[in-house]
């Protein structure tokens, strides 16, 4: 499989070439355009029951589309995300990655997709009760609203919840208020996330919540 992420960083878009017999799994709605010779199938995300639970409690799309090349020639497909910003990829090779809601775009064969209990703290912070964990040997594509930065957490680290995109599961999340109830409300920092452990964290330079907070008082 050949891939190319073009128009980085603000309008990053994934251009893929599927060889005969290859397939790519993508989030519902991620397909911008493709060769008319590719076949598409829709499946539940991680099985029916977790899929439904996720839809009710996690707030993300229930379904996953599988695009496969059943022809004898290479075929192209273009995948993108709903927000403007950067896209990156990781080759798992046995590693694992957890994605925050909205970050997931696509994965290749050999990747295991699981929904895991994220806890009530996560739910209070508006991040849903479940989190998406990807493992195996495939490749994962995910995106951000704004630019992407990576941080190697050594011991502990604090991030604003709305800016967290992905993290390795070796990192433990503790969602809480930044400085007591009053401090949190007045500082505008809201929920922060105290990360503990060692591993890589992906951050986005803008947050959708920030945009919503900016727009909300302007609506009349």
């Amino acid at each position: 499989m050949k891939y190319d992420i073009r128009y980085k960083p603000s309008f990053a878009t994934l251009f893929l070439t599927l060889q005969p017999g290859e397939q790519i799994f993508a989030e519902a709605g991620a397909m911008a355009s493709m060769s008319g010779k590719l076949s598409m199938d829709t499946a539940f995300f991680g099985g029916l029951i977790p899929g439904l639970l996720k839809s009710f409690l996690g707030g993300e799309s229930l379904f996953l589309n599988e695009f496969s090349n059943k022809t004898q020639n290479p075929q192209e497909i273009v995948l993108t995300q709903s927000s403007v910003g950067d896209i990156t990829q990781i080759q798992l090779n046995g590693r694992e990655i957890c994605l925050q809601p909205g970050a997931y775009i696509a994965h290749t064969k050999g990747t295991k997709v699981q929904l895991q209990w994220a806890g009530f703290a996560s739910w209070f912070a508006g991040e849903g009760l479940f989190k998406l964990k990807l493992s195996g040997n495939g490749m994962v594509f995910f995106g951000a609203y704004g630019g992407l930065s990576t941080v190697d957490v050594q011991d502990s680290f604090v991030v604003d919840n709305g800016h967290l995109v992905a993290y390795e599961p070796s990192i433990k999340m503790n969602v809480g208020l930044s400085g007591g109830m009053v401090g949190s409300l007045t500082s505008g920092e809201g929920f922060i996330n105290r990360l503990e452990g060692r591993g890589k964290v992906y951050l986005q330079s803008r947050s959708v919540d920030g945009l919503v907070r900016f727009l909300r008082p302007k609506l009349r």
Binding site: F11, A32, S33, S35, G36, M40, N65, T80, R216
Partner: protein
């Protein structure tokens, strides 16, 4: 007339250098700045779906009822026009050919180009959004805008584009609005509601981002009006 594109691709703006007594029509509200001796008039878009009734229909679809006509005086003038959303601008030269434009992607055109609301497209009952098509024919320049960057596909055979990602396409192509899944349930759940299936030869211009999807992502978090 000379066209200069600045700040591509994320914040593209078109700087139009006009000779004396030249004309350009543009989407109402697209003007950013201009020489003070440019004369501006406003008209209703003509053609099927034009006029007052068609205008009302477009307003329902969130489209502008009016187009602005800019005419330079006895000296050369400058006109800056820009779309509302972040993204790129693409100039397309028509020479007796026909171009179908997704109505929100139209920015401006020169007088030799007739822009009509050829047909009202369809309303997707899945996303609740309307897609309106404009047809441009004649000869001259059409200026298109997009949400995100614009990529060009030279179709030869079969090609599928999500309706939210279409900027414009050449009329030499045959097309069908269809669902990508064979089953209705699949079409409903796949999130890929309706797609445009192209056949034949010609160019399709696609935008990397779907304005409707971004709007729903942000709009879903805003309180109802």
């Amino acid at each position: 007339m000379k066209l200069e594109l600045l700040h591509q691709p994320d914040s593209a703006i078109a700087k139009v250098h006009m000779d004396p007594q030249e004309e350009l029509q543009a989407e109402a509200g697209a003007m950013v700045a201009m020489s003070s001796d440019i004369n501006v008039s406003t008209t209703l878009r003509k053609g099927k779906g034009g006029g007052v009734l068609g205008g009302l229909k477009r307003m329902v679809a969130g489209e502008s009822l009016f187009i602005s006509v800019f005419r330079s005086g006895n000296s050369a003038a400058e006109l800056y026009i820009a779309p509302k959303l972040m993204g790129d601008i693409l100039p397309y030269t028509l020479s007796g050919t026909e171009l179908v434009i997704q109505s929100t992607s139209y920015l401006a055109s020169t007088p030799g180009v007739q822009v009509d609301l050829g047909f009202t497209g369809f309303k997707s009952f899945l996303s609740g959004e309307s897609v309106f098509w404009l047809t441009a024919n004649g000869s001259g320049l059409v200026i298109l805008n997009a949400f995100g960057s614009i990529y060009e596909i030279d179709v030869d055979g079969d090609y599928v584009v999500d309706t939210g990602h279409i900027v414009a396409f050449e009329r030499t192509l045959d097309y069908d609005i269809t669902k990508v899944n064979k089953s209705w349930a699949g079409a409903f759940f796949s999130g890929e509601g309706f797609v445009c299936q192209f056949r034949g030869r010609g160019k399709v211009f696609c935008q990397t981002h779907n304005p409707g999807a971004f709007g729903r992502k942000i709009g879903g978090k805003l309180p109802p009006r």
